[in-house]
Symmetry: C2
Subunit: 503 residues, 2 copies
């Protein structure tokens, strides 16, 4: 049921409000007078057969002519409308699922049906960021029990695409994140695929980090493959490394994560549902999950890791996939390079068996690949890592990686940054710590991941002894401005790398 | 500490985003590349000596020239800046108080200091709506204990202005809201002031209702008085009825309430802190609080009212003010008129002792005035209401009301609506219910409170017997468009007024 009042002509203002739809309306229109006295008033917009809900922003200038309504980029995309189209505005119906969120706040449990309705509403854009924030807050603090996490995971799978493979065993690996440079995927996938297991890996782009796995891979080959193209690559090479966003596996997750980041809130239930929904949607049934534990990693203590492990394994079991959780050392970045091209350089060094290859990246990749290989009936428990080492050292993984790159559209040359600055130790001593979050931020300020060559190249690792003025890391940038931007941050922030005098 | 990167020239886009500051930046600027890959990225803006935090919206069109940054109206106001000014952008420092919100989510208690810091950050605009939503959600569901509510109340008082009066006894009345037409304030204040008690009443404008008390009063006299002018009125007439917003008594409350409305979440602790902080800031020490209880009122059950009563009285005591909670019948609107002028008309009828005056409004006002008068040592317990009746019936309250209007700037003629439509009963029967929220919405859609003459005039009350086609209510509007807008809603929504056949 609709009761229309106003028909307005779309004007594209070119404002990107990320995942939130915004409609801009002149203050002298009826709808502003009826709805506009409140923060975040919500308006229903219909264009042809599509309806969305948008947040109202009031225009008090001549940005719009009478009879025009501006739409944010997201709203235009959701409506598939363009400048000049006629849209119909009306009052949104009350959001029924919000009462389930209120119920949760007052101590009730989410049913599977209410989780499904909430996630449906989120994906349809019926929740504003304010509503999503309230939902996430109501779920955080260990307030979701296992049944509710299962409901959330199922709901997130249902709203996205889901891939089915002809192979019976489909494996995957995933890292819960938090460590710069942790690009084991680019080494694990070719090892596992070279052995013949099916590993259709979808990765994310950077959100707060300097480079997501997809960003690093993109410096070496195209990653924004359509779903049929991804299938073709996997059928031919047993594995792929593509950007998850282009195959639309978990649209709900992308939206929830963006608000979680703004809140800096990592609900355990949310994390479990996020990871498992993506793996199940990708058609995997056996997954190794890497949980780096360290003081500046995402998971900061063994206790938190233990809680997460139980949820991941138990919820996975209930949803029909086998999950093996592997803890790893989250004390410092993995490898030396932070940024798309710099971490890809580390990956190539490992795959090509170069002697300067970062040993921590190599070892960690072999560990994970070993666990993945052991999902195969052909591999005995405990023998996976040795097998992975043989595949890597024989050059088969490197050949497979090149073949995957070719299949994805052709291998690329790594770009190099024209601007660099090396930061040195202000005193002699021993490296006691490297702040994962801050060093990633330096890389980001230097332009990564958009500037592919930008980032940070570490010259030291924790426990190394350094002399005064010894190089600690080099900032790489594609412009002088970005280099300075990153340097400013380094100069302001004293605690990136902790050096303590030996006694 | 600041590390600047970018200086941009302010452009006023004329976009009103309510309480949230938004900065619009071209996508090709450094700061977009460093910060803009996330929903709701936050940017620090400095202009001269003022710093604010704003949410980043990215501009992908020619809305801005290179070197320009757009600011939302709220951001311009906070910065006191105008088009052409140079602003400096930098990274906001991490919001320390957000970790206290996270702590609360994980089961910790808010300390008084953390409440103070959070409310400070909210008022300074350092919280985005997403953060405020998370804070409110973490507090709702009865999660604030008495100590935390005291902390929140104190914090809200500290960030606003606070009035001191020379009189020892300063009284006030407040209604927690939810009933259309409930304009007892305009009757209680002149009765109490005529008796000689000091009652410096500040009221709110409508948020979701069709008319706040300040809106109704404004049809009869100016309400946006400065603080010295308000003092002058109270010194001369013992009472006033002014808009709270103009005396800046509780800036935090205005911000929190706008997000609460969007969530449709009324946390008890939040409500108690909101009411008491405003009364204490206004310098009152004896307050009667009217809590209407009814199925479509704000407080829906006696149990909820009881919880609220204990909190209001106990927290009030701890903060040094005497609170008397009075329950009232929240079944239906009070009086007949809903909308600024229509409810003012009801008020005048009661003050002037007209026989068509709504008796429910008269009785309810006398009850409340009686309770307020009993704060005086000159009035014996139980005798307040009779005294109030004498003052009203003698015409002293009406004279006092006129005097207050004159003191506030001069009494006004009530406006009349040029467009009207009367809705009639579709069947005969007995009126079983009037939906407070929906009938208020009709008034709002008809243009109230901006269109002062607009609103709804009820012709019946609950339990009345009606014939088929008997008038139920008349919609008043200042334009044909608004009249139709409201009528559309009435036609769509069958349950505004429930009529049941008698058996």
């Amino acid at each position: 049921m609709e009761y229309f009042k106003q028909t307005l002509k779309v004007k594209r203002l070119g404002i990107d409000t990320y995942n939130e739809s915004v409609i801009y309306i002149r203050e002298d229109s009826y709808i502003c007078q009826a709805e506009g006295f409140e923060s975040q008033a919500r308006i229903r917009i219909r264009f042809e057969d599509t309806c969305i809900i948008a947040t109202l922003n009031i225009v008090k200038s001549n940005l719009l002519e009478p009879g025009e309504a501006g739409l944010s980029e997201h709203a235009l995309m959701l409506l598939s409308s363009k400048e000049g189209d006629e849209i119909y505005l009306s009052h949104p119906e009350p959001l029924h699922s919000l009462s389930d969120v209120r119920g949760k706040i007052y101590g009730e449990e989410f049913s599977e049906a209410s989780m499904a309705e909430i996630i449906n509403d989120v994906v349809a854009g019926r929740y504003s960021d304010i509503h999503i924030s309230s939902f996430l807050t109501a779920c955080a603090g260990n307030r979701l029990n296992q049944q509710e996490i299962i409901g959330l995971t199922k709901a997130m799978i249902q709203v996205g695409a889901r891939i089915a493979w002809s192979q019976q065993l489909v494996v995957d690996k995933h890292c819960v994140g938090g460590l710069p440079g942790n690009k084991t995927t680019l080494i694990v996938v070719p090892i596992v695929a070279a052995f013949g297991l099916t590993i259709p890996k979808t990765s994310s782009r950077a959100i707060t980090s300097a480079a997501g796995t997809a960003d690093a891979m993109e410096t070496l080959a195209p990653v924004d493959l359509s779903f049929p193209k991804m299938q073709e690559v996997v059928e031919r090479e047993s594995g792929c490394i593509v950007w998850g966003g282009s195959v639309l596996l978990s649209p709900a997750d992308d939206i929830l994560i963006s608000v979680e980041r703004a809140l800096d809130l990592d609900g355990e239930g949310q994390l479990v549902a996020s990871v498992l929904s993506k793996k199940i949607a990708a058609g995997s049934n056996h997954v190794v999950i890497d949980v780096p534990v360290g003081p500046t990693a995402k998971v900061r203590s063994r206790d938190s890791a233990d809680i997460l492990k139980v949820y991941l394994e138990e919820v996975g079991k209930k949803l029909g996939i086998e999950v093996k959780v592997v803890y790893s050392d989250g004390l410092q970045p993995v490898g030396y390079g932070i940024g798309p091209a710099l971490s890809a350089r580390d990956v190539l060094a490992v795959l090509q068996g170069k002697k300067e290859a970062p040993q921590d990246l190599r070892e960690h990749s072999l560990d994970l690949a070993g666990h993945v290989l052991e999902f195969s009936a052909r591999v005995n428990p405990g023998e996976g890592k040795l097998l992975a080492k043989e595949i890597l050292d024989s050059g088969k993984a490197w050949s497979k990686f090149q073949a995957i790159c070719e299949a994805q559209g052709g291998m690329r040359e790594l770009p190099k940054a024209p601007y660099m600055h090396t930061c040195v130790a202000k005193k002699e001593g021993v490296i006691k710590g490297i702040d994962n979050r801050r060093i990633a931020r330096v890389g980001k300020l230097a332009g990564a991941p958009v500037a592919k060559a930008a980032g940070v190249d570490l010259h030291i690792k924790v426990n190394a002894r350094v002399e005064k003025k010894q190089p600690l890391f080099t900032i790489h940038a594609e412009s002088q401005g970005e280099l300075e931007y990153a340097l400013n941050f380094v100069e302001m922030d004293g605690n990136l790398i902790q050096i303590e005098n030996e006694k």
